[in-house]
Symmetry: C2
Subunit: 440 residues, 2 copies
């Protein structure tokens, strides 16, 4: 007898943990589809963007992760449409894929709040290719400054603006501070990398808005110690090839900078929108699908949407589940348990998010945490936060070889103050801004 | 007093070893220019192309390698012309760079013997970007075969042709054999990877033509043990999207294959041609500059050409120096010693190549060697060759962290029969042949 056909679209945290929780259970016939052949450990993506880790160290082929489950098939392909009546997903090439239950876990991409023309000047950080592009931009900026004799242009090359003071922005800015003050310190002859200006711009009045206020202050102090200029209450109103226009309470201002990184906004993937259109589900402004307490689409108990593609109820204080790794891992596992329960005639209660807490690192040996269930210990700063972060990330990183490699690299970087992965790949190059792909 | 200005164009083996041998000697003012920001360990490039190593593990930023020499400057840029009268090199952007002595070490790129239209169907292996493109092609071929239902097309996706039976071709074909029979063995559901056909095509009557005949036979046997079909005496006369046309003593034949890899011919870099034009130096058909026994251009004792960009006299049996790593490392060191000698009024004798021997690995635990100075021990095959190869490559790999990482990865792959670096990067993808950049 053929098993219950589960189609999982997306191999990020939500999709992967759904598949892993369905495991080798022979009652299911699982297909997982992704546009990439790998699962990406997104929380460490900024480390690839800043040259601390190599792409392969935070990604693992989906095929090898799921190889042991003989009832699971991994397909490389792009889902482009949904026919909820016939229960099938349309692919960009090849025939449609039929399902009995569908798990939409396609995540988010960055959003420029209607200013898509900013994308070419201010790349965001969502994929491996984004990360290598950003790494390329950062490294080329220092190379170009070394060759540039005009002081004004050199200053533009030596200025880095990070837009958005959430965890990604804070971690990127902190890493940039470390690169300028530590890693590249002695690598150049005409420029002095510690002279680089790193500016973190945030529209709200503090960084890390989801953290308690004390933690935000601590993060700010730690960033400033790394030489990062933190500008809160500052809104970006324009970005071009030579810099950023910002608006503060005091009026408009221009920051000349060749390198601008976008860590400000996200929106749901385009497949999530198509799912909403096909099923009549509601979405919010960012295109995220509103799901019921069981994470299904109203009127379609066979369609689940999890992670960044959805607004998931069951979060802290009655709000939605936050857009962090655990906000996809836990729903992914929940969906698999619901599917197993259904086959056995059991009904699970609504999804409840367990807040395991947040940790962000800020450069070498420091960071902030916000882990409510640890009480006062959960508000560590500095070294303790950093150590905690290290442990958590190693545990969740998929693939034993990756864990070994990442530990080796971190230990090595720690001892030598180096960064192991500083290749500029892509076209043979001459310092210049090239056009990135528009956000897909 | 400003030092003697040495300009080194190219950060491969020749350029890097020239710079390292000039070291921190304050009498020199050294500038090294490369289009990439890293030195690439080319002998392991095929391991990146076949997913065994990650790009960052065989490359190291030139800046960090040369950081300790305070008299040396690394510049990212592309040399596009030479003015030998004014003693300066023109750059694709930015002002020209003046020199007192010039070292041209720009290496080679692949040559399609006048059939440049083959480049899109049969990528060659010279750069990191070539290697990730080839990796992408190989992995996508298996993914596409998994999704393809038409037997004829599936067979095309499952057929891999390597053109050229030199060391690169042999190592690529051997690795492909290992991927199909070992690494991916259990990763797919609709296809059986060991069914893949891997065909090595060589126009001459044996593989590894520079090795003694017995070694060629041994290599062939080892390849066949890995399931590779070795077709010697077979000339490629056409390549298109669906396969290769070959010519043998028996006539023409068609091999249907979606993945064709080019390991057949090289030509000198375009900068080498420009140097020849500007100085009136002779070149051979492959564009390599004929240099004098002191590795300088006739009439220009201040211009050295080393490595694959030159035909260097002083090789084995009165012939030219072979196009291997040592054929650039030794000339690079020699040039640095000549330059030091000149400042001290010493003249060095002509360049003499020391044949340290050759080693090629063929899959797991086997390989062939040809090391004349070791006598009969120098003709090892199988495991001994493999162990020797391992040792040599680890010793020459630049960067201690890289050595640790590569050893870790090899040990891990060895134990698990896995390959750690199997990401398909680049465009979000759907199996299809996309156009690579034409060879630059």
């Amino acid at each position: 007898m053929p098993g219950h056909r589960v189609l999982i679209v997306g191999g990020g945290f939500g999709g992967l943990y759904a598949a892993k929780t369905l495991d080798g259970d022979g009652r299911f016939d699982v297909t997982i589809v992704d546009r990439h052949n790998y699962h990406l450990f997104q929380p460490l993506l900024y480390q690839v963007a800043t040259g601390a880790l190599a792409p392969g160290e935070i990604a693992q082929p989906l095929r090898s992760i799921l190889r042991k489950y003989r009832n699971q098939t991994v397909l490389l392909g792009e889902a482009v449409g949904l026919d909820p009546e016939k229960r099938r997903v349309l692919m960009s090439d090849g025939g449609p894929i039929e399902y009995d239950s569908l798990v939409v876990a396609t995540g988010a991409r960055h959003s420029y709040f209607g200013n898509d023309e900013w994308a070419r000047f201010a790349p965001g950080l969502k994929s491996i290719d984004d990360a290598t592009l950003i790494r390329r931009r950062i490294l080329i900026a220092f190379e170009a400054a070394e060759r540039e004799h005009a002081p004004e242009l050199r200053r533009e090359w030596m200025t880095f603006v990070v837009v958005g003071g959430g965890p990604t922005g804070v971690e990127l800015a902190g890493s940039l501070g470390e690169i300028a003050h530590d890693t590249l310190r002695r690598d150049f002859r005409s420029i002095h990398p510690p002279d680089a200006r790193i500016i973190l711009v945030e529209a709200l009045d503090r960084v890390l808005p989801p953290y308690p206020e004390g933690r935000s202050k601590s993060a700010r102090r730690q960033l400033e110690r790394l030489g990062v200029v933190v500008r809160t209450g500052t809104r970006v109103v324009g970005i071009d090839e030579h810099g950023v226009d910002v608006e503060t309470a005091d009026g408009r201002e221009r920051i000349g900078a060749k390198t601008v990184l976008w860590a400000a906004g996200v929106q749901a993937s385009s497949f999530a929108r198509k799912v909403a259109e096909a099923t009549g589900a509601e979405t919010d402004k960012a295109g995220r699908v509103k799901v019921e307490p069981g994470l299904t689409i109203p009127g379609h108990p066979e369609i689940f949407v999890v992670g960044d593609a959805a607004i998931q109820p069951g979060g802290p204080n009655g709000g939605p589940v936050p857009g962090v790794a655990q906000g996809a891992i836990q729903p992914g596992r929940y969906v698999a348990r619901v599917l197993k329960g259904r086959l056995e005639g059991r009904r699970l209660g609504p999804f409840r998010y367990r807040n395991l807490g947040d940790v962000a690192v800020i450069g070498r040996l420091s960071g902030v945490t916000n882990i409510p269930w640890l009480g006062p210990f959960g508000r560590a700063g500095g070294f303790l936060a950093w150590a905690l972060w290290l442990g958590i990330h190693i545990v969740y990183l998929i693939g034993f070889a990756n864990r070994i490699l990442v530990i080796t690299r971190w230990a090595w970087s720690f001892l030598t103050h180096g960064r192991g992965s500083r290749l500029i790949t892509g076209q043979p190059l001459v310092p210049d801004i090239e056009e990135p792909e528009p956000p897909a």
